[in-house]
């Protein structure tokens, strides 16, 4: 258990957050290597099923990140996504999933520093609450 490292699913929008990760990379900013990235065209593409499937397949945490409100490449994708997450999160918390398990953030393409900060925060949050047990298939 001492050596346990969380595995975190990071669902990043192509236009902002993924580019933010890229910037963090080329700027050689250090952040925990616990995330596994899935690139999607827009945070509006995120079906809550993706998040549920991530938890079910054993990820210790899921982070969804998109463009800041108003910056969406498709103009309103992140607004629609925001409403979806606003309902999903309370439902997950209601059934007993820790609030830290599933997180959302907005990161722009210019925020490499912030990308690293968010990844560090999410990783630390999840290290604190330990490995996922609930909703994990076969756990």
């Amino acid at each position: 258990m001492k050596d346990w490292q969380p595995r975190i699913l990071a669902i990043l929008c192509n236009w902002c957050s993924y580019a933010g990760a890229d910037l963090a990379g080329v700027s050689r900013i250090q952040y925990p290597p616990n995330i596994r990235v899935v690139r999607i065209p827009c945070s509006g593409r995120v079906d809550p099923l993706f998040i549920m499937k991530g938890l079910q397949s054993g990820f210790d945490g899921v982070l969804v990140s998109g463009c800041h409100p108003g910056d969406c490449h498709y103009l309103s994708g992140n607004f629609v996504a925001r409403r979806r997450f606003a309902v999903l999160k309370p439902l997950l918390e209601m059934i007993g999933i820790e609030p830290e398990r599933v997180q959302f953030s907005w990161i722009s393409a210019g925020e490499g520093e912030r990308f690293a900060q968010v990844m560090t925060k999410v990783t630390n949050d999840i290290k604190k609450i330990g490995p996922a047990r609930r909703l994990v298939k076969g756990a």
């Binding site: 099923l49 079910q56 439902l91 209601m94 007993g96």
Partner: protein
């Protein structure tokens, strides 16, 4: 009231205002009225309305839309409060054209939960049913019971806020003034007092009994996708067995799909063969939608459904700062 309904329906059909009226008739089981399609004035006397009329007649507009809506028929529909909310939702979602439907509201006093009656009757079969002044009388072999409405009504009816249609063309009888049910959130508030561990246990307990028959989905007026996500094979997102995580994901995602669309008619709970407490999640989603987006389902068909809409300056407290 029923006579008035029959007369009105006769007039509508005879005058050619509608081609068809969907309502209820006496079913083969005493406690369950059957939906009926009336297409000629002489048939109208089959119509009834009482607390056995649990089915939501609005579902035919979506689940049988090829035969009814796409054929461009002009249809009358007899609705309780929750059914009327379904109709308003369909209008808002553009599933039905306003000019093609005549909504006939009837005053609802709640519908019966047959499980509760079965329990009260100790398993004896109910062969006859009658109601008067909020008392239900059930009769059968060695059975003659008079029950109080509160003992046998569906849970969703006991906390119902909109017993009567808000949007209608004709209202038969006297509406019960919609005094908002203060107890609406009682069960949810009670549940939320529990610790996350207890909530998880309770939810696991509920959903581990689910047999994945999809009766809740099939009966739901808001579930009308041509292909449900659980029926998809390629890609297959959710496993099809009653494995607990798959089952929970099914229920949570179904809940999200009907978030801001659920009219809380309680049809899912009544249809559930395992008697699961399904509405708890729905109430949570509905309350969240109401508090955050100020939207209540099926009240105003002119309003855009909450999950298809957004405001730029919305509260985003759940997003990392």
């Amino acid at each position: 009231m029923v006579n008035e309904l029959r007369e009105k329906v006769k007039k509508l059909l005879a005058g050619g205002e509608v081609e068809l009226v969907i309502g209820w008739e006496k079913g083969s089981r005493a406690l369950a009225a059957t939906p009926v399609f009336i297409d000629s004035p002489k048939e109208a006397d089959r119509l009834i309305f009482d607390s056995t009329c649990g089915n939501n007649p609005a579902v035919y507009f979506t689940k049988d839309s090829r035969r009814l809506v796409k054929a461009g028929k002009k249809i009358g529909v007899v609705v309780k409060g929750c059914d009327a909310r379904s109709m308003s939702l369909y209008l808002a979602e553009k599933q039905v054209k306003r000019e093609n439907v005549v909504i006939i509201g009837v005053p609802c006093r709640g519908v019966i939960d047959t499980d509760k009656v079965a329990e009260a009757a100790g398993g004896r079969e109910v062969l006859e049913y009658s109601e008067q002044d909020g008392k239900m009388t059930v009769r059968g072999k060695d059975l003659d019971l008079t029950l109080d409405a509160n003992e046998v009504l569906s849970n969703s009816c006991l906390t119902c806020v909109y017993p009567d249609a808000r949007e209608y063309d004709i209202f038969i009888g006297k509406a019960r003034d919609g005094e908002p049910g203060k107890e609406q959130n009682a069960a949810l508030d009670e549940f939320e007092k529990l610790s996350p561990e207890e909530r998880w246990e309770k939810m696991t307990e509920i959903y581990s009994r689910c047999i994945r028959c999809y009766a809740c989905r099939n009966v739901c007026p808001s579930c009308y996708c041509n292909e449900c996500f659980v029926d998809q094979n390629d890609p297959q997102w959710v496993g099809k067995t009653p494995e607990i995580t798959d089952t929970m994901i099914f229920h949570i995602i179904r809940n999200l799909h009907v978030a801001g669309r659920c009219v809380e008619c309680g049809a899912c709970e009544r249809a559930c063969p395992m008697g699961l407490e399904l509405l708890l999640l729905n109430r949570k989603a509905a309350r969240e939608v109401e508090e955050r987006f100020g939207y209540v389902t099926g009240i105003d068909s002119g309003e855009k459904p909450a999950m298809a809409d957004f405001r730029e300056d919305e509260k985003q407290d759940f997003i990392m700062g």
